[in-house]
Amino acid sequence: MSNPRRRPPADPMVRALIQQARGAAAARRASAGSAGLSRRQFLTVGAGVAGTAALLAACGTGGAPGASSSAAPSPAADVSDAEKLVRWANWTLYLDQNDAGTEYPTLNAFTKQTGIDVEYLEDIEDNDTFYGKVSGQLANGDDIGYDIVTPTDWMAGRMIRLGYAQELDLANIPNAANLVSTLRDVDYDEGRKHALTWQSGFGGLAWDKAKVPGGMQSLDDLWKPELAGKVEVLSEMHDTIGLIMLSQGVDPAGDWGDAEYDAAIELLREKITSGHIRQVKGNSYTQDLVSGDCWACIGWSGDITGLNYEADNRFDFVVPEAGGTLWSDEMLIPVGATHKKNAETLMNYYYEPEVAAQVAAWVNYVTPVDGAREVMEKSDPELAADTNIFPDDETLAKVHVFRTLTPAEETKYNGQYLEVIGA
């Protein structure tokens, strides 16, 4: 009974009851509906074909596509003290494992230290797909089954904007002070009230050293005729367009608009229609680098370091001279999460420099925790010198965070991008 969604035919009724219970709040936002009715009341009335169809829609799709709550849902009650558990959704291969790949050493240490069990789930494969799955429940304020989720900055920004993230109690996270200065002031979470960076990384150029003996310095090297049909770019708009913009002298973090975006997208369109760009890929571009279908591409820093472990330094990665993108995956507590304090305890744990260094040594992405490099210098000086994990000031000066788009821009620019990449 705790989950009415399990009985779809009853769903509209239950929804209606919940909505009536929230009626006072709903009435105050009555302006959205026609004839003085709020959209929710309009749904509840269900009169006429439109009402019925809408009701069915809201029911059949679990609220995801159709639902359009204009008010932020309220956070769930915290049962952290009674239930020593935290549930964490993360991307694949994004936390240190033992050699057999069966245990997470830092998580085990956390449980030992705090007595809090961790349900660690590699459930995020793609920002949009993940959001598509949980947004309906988030809009209702339901528990989505995770206490921490780890979306990329721009998606974290959308979730914060919509009120889908709980405000962090920094008293529980004293180590948050260790956040590196470059990520302290971000436009997707003003004042860092909702999100803490899990890992960050660079979008830049990657290539197979045997196939591209001259190496690469700028994005223009990617357009050399001898690479025709062997080039791939990322389906992640922020990185591909960000790098193209930088090569055209536009700072993606700055104040740009349609003209600059169009210029970047036209260059991409030309390279795709001419066949110079073979395919536009997500995470799977690494497979094409290994198979030899792709010789040079726009890629992500940590992937290349990871590939090189397995492939004997076959690949190289560089942040182009004109600049690269800096993205970060952000830990946040979804609105329906029921173990907020435990989640904050976990965040605090991973912001200890020793722990952060242990994670960085395994995942090879840029660690957001100050002091981790000093720890690493003692244990593994070679890794500590890798500027793709511990960037120096020179590298940091070259990378830019893609500015947060307004909802209207997001729809427009993503639509244009998807059209050009033929997806």
Binding site: P8, P9, A32, R39, F42, L43, A50, G51, A53, A54, L56, A57, C59, G60, T61, P65, G66, A67, S68, S70, D126, D128, T129, Y131, G132, S135, R158, R161, L162, A228, G229, I272, T273, G275, I277, R278, Q279, V280, S284, Q287, D288, S291, G292, D293, P407, E410, T411, N414, G415, L418, E419, V420, I421, G422, A423
Partner: protein, 315 residues
């Protein structure tokens, strides 16, 4: 036999037999009717919950409009038929391409699947062990995931792979020619993925083929080809029709092959477009209206096909 107790069974029937003549049949019929309704109930409920309601939801969503000033992915109910016009204007190419690729894949699967089915059903007749083994081989690809099988094609057709190297050596492919990221790769993958759907129904109808009819063809001086064309093929038509439908329909809506093996210019299929509209752009109305169009187009095409082949009663 002697252990059957006479009591209870007769006891149930007794009120009926005791009642006046005409009522007995009514009661029995009503009971059978009630039982029939009871038996249909789970299936009906299932269909209502997981087919009728979702289809209504899909139709409703396809007419939604964005909430003014709302965030990405927020829509409200409306009757905005214009959604269909814009969706078709923007995506008629992937839609047409989907049917074209599905047609090619169906033809390919028929060319590959029919001989396999014939081999197992007709040539393998009387050797059940061999038949069983061959059938397992046909079904074996299903033991691995669809996505894995498609990714395997990426490796097989890769530029540095044996297939492409051999084709370069034989000068079938120009030196800069490739197989992955082409429509060829997409169609090959579609064909391969649906061959079992083609082969199994054809096997089922060929298995029932009466060998005496084939012999009779020979007795009437028909050559092997004429016998095949006038006896075997017509008798296996039910299998061919179901096989082509089972291949064509899912192939037209497939999005895995095109997204893994296609490129960005001329391989996008409608399933892929619906997937990206829905999950990446959160443009639910466009995704929904394209789904409705796809559903309607397939229904029309299948209807025409079944009428043309005259096999409604065989389905």
């Amino acid at each position: 036999m002697t252990t059957v107790a006479p009591g209870p069974a007769i006891g149930v029937a007794a009120p009926g037999t005791g009642a006046p003549g005409t009522g007995a049949e009514d009661v029995a019929a009503r009971r059978a009717g009630a039982a029939g309704v009871g038996l249909m109930l789970p299936g009906t409920l299932y269909l209502v919950a997981f087919f009728v309601i979702p289809v209504f939801a899909l139709l409703a969503t396809s007419l939604y409009v964005p909430v003014p000033g709302g965030d990405v992915g927020q829509f409200m109910p409306a009757f905005h038929w214009q959604n269909y016009v814009t969706a078709l204007a923007d995506f008629w190419q992937p839609l047409a391409r989907s049917f074209w690729f599905a047609l090619l894949a169906t033809a390919g699967a028929l060319a590959v699947g029919y001989p396999i089915a014939y081999l197992i059903a007709v040539r393998g007749r009387g050797r059940p062990l061999l038949q069983g083994m061959l059938l397992v081989l046909v079904v074996a690809p299903f033991f691995t995931s669809f996505v894995l099988r498609t990714i395997a094609w990426k490796q097989i057709l890769a530029d540095d792979g044996y297939v492409v190297q051999a084709l370069h050596w034989l000068h079938v492919l120009p030196p800069d020619g490739r197989l992955t990221a082409t429509s060829f790769a997409v169609v090959v993958s579609l064909t391969h993925n649906f061959v079992p759907f083609m082969a199994l129904p054809i096997y089922a109808s060929l298995e029932r083929l009466d060998p005496r009819l084939v012999e009779a063809g020979g007795d009437l001086y028909a050559g092997p080809w004429t016998t095949f064309r006038t006896v075997t093929l017509p008798l296996s038509m039910p299998g061919v029709v179901s096989g082509t439908l089972l291949t064509f329909i899912p192939a037209a809506g497939d999005y895995v092959s095109a997204s893994l093996l296609g490129n960005s210019t001329n391989t996008a299929m409608i399933g892929q477009v619906i997937d990206t509209r829905f999950f990446r752009l959160l443009d639910y109305p466009t995704a929904a209206s394209l789904s409705v169009v796809l559903m309607a187009a397939i229904a029309v095409l299948v209807g025409l096909y079944v009428r043309r082949t005259g096999t409604e009663d065989l389905l």
